[in-house]
């Protein structure tokens, strides 16, 4: 029996190691080596590939779908680049890690990428928590890092080598408040936010702008990420006579609010954010999502060639719908590729090139320029879920006083 137990425990441990190995943090997964990604090997002879680091929450049970979306887009970006000849003939090698949504792991990964792996640049495909920890390490090492979608201001505030491909939470929330009050005419607003930096930051900036525009914030509820139940909060809001519910949260919460609002018979507009920009939101909420507005950076209806090409390529490669997380990761790589093609891999030259980029065409719209702190300035897309239960373009907010984060007064929260 002892022997059987020992064997079983050893088997269990081995299975756990395999199970946790979505991106083994002790060994990088070189997922797109030149020969493996369809690149022309004659072009790489005598030259090592350029390494670009990537990390995302692949094995975190609650965030692994975003981690996967990010990694798949990273692999797609690298494969397509290598197939088209790489960076002036040099192939690119992706060195990807799983941060498991763990800040300690993210710090270890950033150290490893900037030292042992010797990457030329890093893309964060993770949330604000891990990205905030990795940013100062990349900054100290003098390695350019582009964050794909983390919204916390501390990410870009780590220094001049850190850029954000997506607009900060302050911009998105200010745009949301402007849209809610000026276009939807909301006067009494309830906020249902996720109880994380992501939700509290956007809630604070939304509140400040909405009140400035004359609306009243009737109630604010902050729901823990682990809490799926929105029944009671919607029951409470039902008695508050509001005309709009603002939801700076993720797709799970947003879908449940949509469902409860319909089931409990509330006649209100619903406005979410990029956290709800996912096929998972549409699948979970189904027809209850019809009429939902969101602020995001991706316009699926954009006739722009690169946007449509990305959507088609992603669908063809992975047989699933792309989302803003994947699109933002893809764009972060495109920014780095553009810099490397123009100025090579010298970090100082890359930093200077990216900081001065103007009107760069990306999957998520035109990147107009980077703010002084390194956040992308691009129009905020308002998408609406139509009768076909898909996101469609509804409006665009491109007022520079709103979309340039430097123009937005700091709100304490």
């Amino acid at each position: 029996m002892k022997k059987l137990l020992s064997t079983l425990l050893a088997l269990a441990m081995a299975m756990s190691l395999v199970a946790c190995g979505g991106g083994d943090t002790s060994t990088p997964s070189d997922t797109s080596t030149p020969s493996g990604s369809g690149g022309d090997s004659s072009q790489t002879q005598g030259e090592d590939p350029i390494k670009i680091g990537f990390f995302g929450p692949l094995s975190s049970a609650s965030a692994s779908a975003d981690g996967l979306s990010g990694l798949q887009s990273a692999e797609l970006a690298v494969r397509l680049l290598n197939e088209s000849g790489g960076i002036n003939g040099r192939m690119v090698e992706l060195v990807d890690y799983d941060d498991a949504l763990d800040t300690t792991e993210a710090a270890n990964i950033a150290e490893r990428l900037t030292t042992a792996d010797g990457v030329a640049a890093v893309v964060s495909g993770s949330y604000s928590g891990p990205t905030r920890v990795a940013a100062p390490i990349c900054q100290a090492a003098g390695v350019v890092m582009v964050s794909a979608y983390a919204v916390h201001p501390d990410v870009v505030n780590a220094g001049e080598y850190i850029f954000s491909q997506s607009f900060p939470g302050a911009v998105q929330a200010t745009a949301a408040a402007t849209f809610a009050v000026e276009e939807l005419g909301a006067q009494r607003i309830a906020i249902v936010a996720v109880d994380l930096d992501f939700g509290t930051e956007q809630s604070a900036y939304f509140k400040a702008k909405a009140v400035e525009l004359g609306a009243e914030i009737v109630s604010e509820d902050y729901i823990a990420m682990s809490d799926n139940d929105m029944t009671s909060v919607v029951s409470k809001i039902a008695s508050e006579d509001v005309d709009l519910i603002y939801m700076p949260n993720y797709y799970g919460h947003a879908a449940e609010v949509c469902r409860q609002v319909v089931l409990q018979g509330l006649d209100v507009d619903l406005l979410g954010c990029e956290g709800a920009d996912s096929w998972q939101m549409l699948q979970t909420a189904g027809e209850y999502a019809e009429g939902l507005y969101i602020t995001t950076n991706m316009d699926r209806d954009d006739p722009n060639e690169s946007t449509q090409a990305y959507i088609e390529n992603y669908r063809a490669e992975y047989d699933m719908e792309p989302d803003m997380v994947g699109a933002s990761v893809y764009d972060a790589f495109e920014v780095l590729f553009a810099a490397m093609k123009e100025v090579g891999t010298d970090p100082v030259a890359m930093q200077e090139y990216i900081a001065n980029m103007k009107d760069f065409d990306t999957v998520t719209g035109t990147l107009m320029y980077y703010t002084s702190s390194g956040s992308a300035v691009k129009p905020v897309q308002i998408q609406r879920v139509g009768e076909d239960l898909q996101f469609h373009s509804y409006s665009v907010i491109d007022d520079i006083s709103i979309i340039d984060g430097d123009n937005i007064p700091v709100v304490e929260y």
């Binding site: 269990a12 049970a61 779908a65 109880d195 029944t231 009671s232 409990q264 979970t284």
Partner: protein
């Protein structure tokens, strides 16, 4: 609004009771806190999902998932918990650690086998809600009430009106004396796992239907909240678990609606637990192992 919130809390509380019942039955007979029950809840939700989307039969999904996950429980008892508990001078923390390991493994296994993304049952009754005056009752809640009631009646009948149940109660009272009296304690323990893991699987499916969403993270909250419920209920007492589940559901709904909670809602269960244990250290129904 108060009446609406009472109905809301009954639905949440019933689901909590159903979720914690499996761990209660296993504690009742083996005296171990089986966190892996949350893994059974997760795996049950996924098995039920695949059966439902393949056949379109919800009853089949419940039966198939409860039976298969119940059998997994028996296998785990025979291969992991049984050998551990049979060791002389076994530290009580060892099965707990094994259970935590099994739960972690189940989450990763589901993620690897079924993918990281959300899956939706998309089960709908012809009518979504029933309105009685100003109160809205969702039809999925009625399913939860009915299922909880049916399963509790089945449990009561099995434990009180069958020979297997008698063996279970005798083993829960004192396994050595039960064995000396000729009771097949192994069967009683297997019954605990079939019922315990089966209940967990049913609760997982109900949660998946209620929120129309299952992910590999589904078992995370139950893995700790069920502990608060079974301890509050008096450790191993099925009736206590029902009352504790309803009480915690009620406390969460009312406190999060009428107050600004300085703590996450999930922590309310533990606050209630601490308050009750200060007043009644053995839990609400502290006379252990009585059904």
């Amino acid at each position: 609004m108060f009446l609406q919130l009472v109905i809301n809390s009954l639905a949440i509380g019933s689901l909590y009771a159903l979720t914690a019942m499996g761990a209660t039955l296993i504690y009742g007979i083996l005296g171990i806190l089986d966190i892996a029950n949350a893994g059974a809840y997760l795996i049950g939700a996924y098995i039920g999902y695949y059966i439902y989307i393949s056949t379109g039969q919800l009853v089949l999904a419940f039966l198939g998932a409860m039976l298969s996950v119940g059998l997994v429980g028996v296998v785990l008892h025979r291969t992991v918990y049984g050998p551990i508990l049979a060791k002389p001078r076994m530290l009580s923390i060892i099965p707990l650690v094994a259970a935590v390991g099994l739960f972690t493994m189940s989450s990763d296994l589901i993620r690897l086998l079924c993918g990281a993304g959300t899956k939706a049952y998309n089960f709908r009754f012809p009518v979504d809600v029933v309105r009685v005056g100003s109160v809205t009752i969702q039809t999925t809640w009625l399913l939860i009430f009915a299922l909880t009631a049916v399963l509790l009646v089945v449990l009561w009948v099995v434990l009180n009106k069958t020979k297997m149940g008698l063996a279970w109660r005798a083993t829960a009272e004192d396994p050595d004396i039960a064995r000396a009296c000729g009771v097949n304690t192994n069967s009683a323990m297997a019954l605990s796992y079939v019922l315990g893991y089966g209940f967990a699987a049913a609760a997982g499916i109900m949660t998946g239907i209620l929120y129309n969403s299952i992910t590999p993270a589904l078992g995370e909250v139950p893995s700790y909240k069920m502990l608060a419920i079974i301890v509050l209920g008096g450790l191993g007492n099925p009736l206590g678990t029902v009352v504790a589940g309803l009480l915690i559901g009620f406390a969460e709904v009312m406190l999060s609606t009428y107050t600004v909670l300085p703590i996450p809602k999930d922590a309310v269960a533990f606050v209630v637990l601490i308050i009750v244990l200060l007043i009644k250290p053995s839990g609400l129904f502290g006379q252990r192992n009585k059904v």
